[in-house]
Symmetry: C2
């Protein structure tokens, strides 16, 4: 249901940024991209606009658009917002979730557990995202759901990094268990606090990862 060429290109460029083909600070040359995708500059410019609005790149007037990877500070901030948003989701979902959806969440977390035991990082990753997305849907607030999905998507590449932490996957599954228990008990505040911690720890781990890397770079 993609709309037009420009949308496909936007996704493609986003992919190129996220997988490191374009690095932080790189200028995205319109004509280069145009010949790379075999289109004119027009759809390229439309695609870039989308990326500008999403915050992935920055535009300096009359200068061009530049890749703008969030710095450590901004990342911490984004993780904090994500943690708070998810806490809201958990609290709302605790009073609004259906039995069917609760069962579904349990099933997803079981697949998380299976993937963890099989040391399947990719499987764990996918099911983990699905777990959270399913929870968003159970807030009964479609707007909130969309906002959460937007931020989740933005943080995806960074979340992926911290999966490498030893024992993190198993810990994550256990935290999901606790969150589910709180939701099932209808304790929204407890569910919210648990989920906030669950997400915030990702930000902290990421922060420590960054700190351990930065000194070497500078």
């Amino acid at each position: 249901m993609e709309r037009k060429r420009a949308d496909l290109i936007a996704d493609a460029i986003e992919e190129l940024i996220l997988d490191g083909t374009f690095d932080d600070g790189d200028r995205l040359d319109e004509v280069q991209l145009a010949e790379r995708f075999n289109v004119s500059r027009t759809p390229i410019r439309e695609a870039l606009q989308r990326l500008i609005l999403s915050g992935l790149v920055e535009q300096l007037p009359r200068r061009g658009v530049f890749v703008r990877q969030p710095g450590p500070v901004e990342l911490i901030e984004m993780f904090e917002v994500m943690a708070e948003l998810e806490a809201v989701c958990a609290r709302l979902a605790a009073s609004r979730i259906s039995d069917a959806a609760l069962a579904q969440l349990r099933a997803i977390n079981e697949r998380c557990r299976t993937a963890t035991e099989a040391q399947d990082a990719d499987g764990n990753y996918d099911q983990n995202d699905l777990f959270h997305a399913t929870l968003y849907a159970q807030t009964g607030n479609a707007f909130l759901e969309q906002e959460c999905l937007r931020l989740q998507r933005r943080l995806r590449p960074f979340r992926r990094l911290q999966l490498r932490w030893r024992g993190r996957m198993a810990q994550s599954v256990a935290e999901h268990d606790a969150i589910l228990a709180a939701i099932e008990a209808g304790d929204g505040d407890q569910a919210g606090n648990l989920l906030r911690q669950h997400v915030a720890v990702q930000g902290e781990k990421f922060h420590r990862l960054m700190s351990s890397l930065k000194p070497a770079a500078e």
Copy 2:
């Protein structure tokens, strides 16, 4: 610091939508807009893209872009998210705010009170927005601040409506007082709950306004 013509046009079109020149469901004709602003279709299309991304208009592929005012349900949802976001702001600000900023908030609320006593709805409205924006800035989280400002901006025209409620302005000032007291006491949870209620009541009042208008329209 506007970037180019397209940005000015985007703001102008947004204004035209918000002030009712373009109604819900209207198609925004590129050529009409082009001659209205005395530019070619290119900057118009760029401007429309911005509005599409912001959610103010909707694009049907190969059909055009249409004004898409949020329905009652979506509005309720947006107010709920705003309330939760502001609650987070209050909670965070309670532990991070500076004395200077706290004094500033008090000053702003005093101007709110003055405006209220003078029956100055516009003044109250402006100071009220400033009060909330100042609070966002005190979360120490620039990303959160930006997200809040974005949503605040989106809800602005609807918030304005509920100012007409008799006694609402005075009530609002009183609620600000209570929120400030909680922040000053460092009670983040209390401040959050108060602010959530403070914003949520706007959504509810708006809902009731909509309900009282809709039956006549259908």
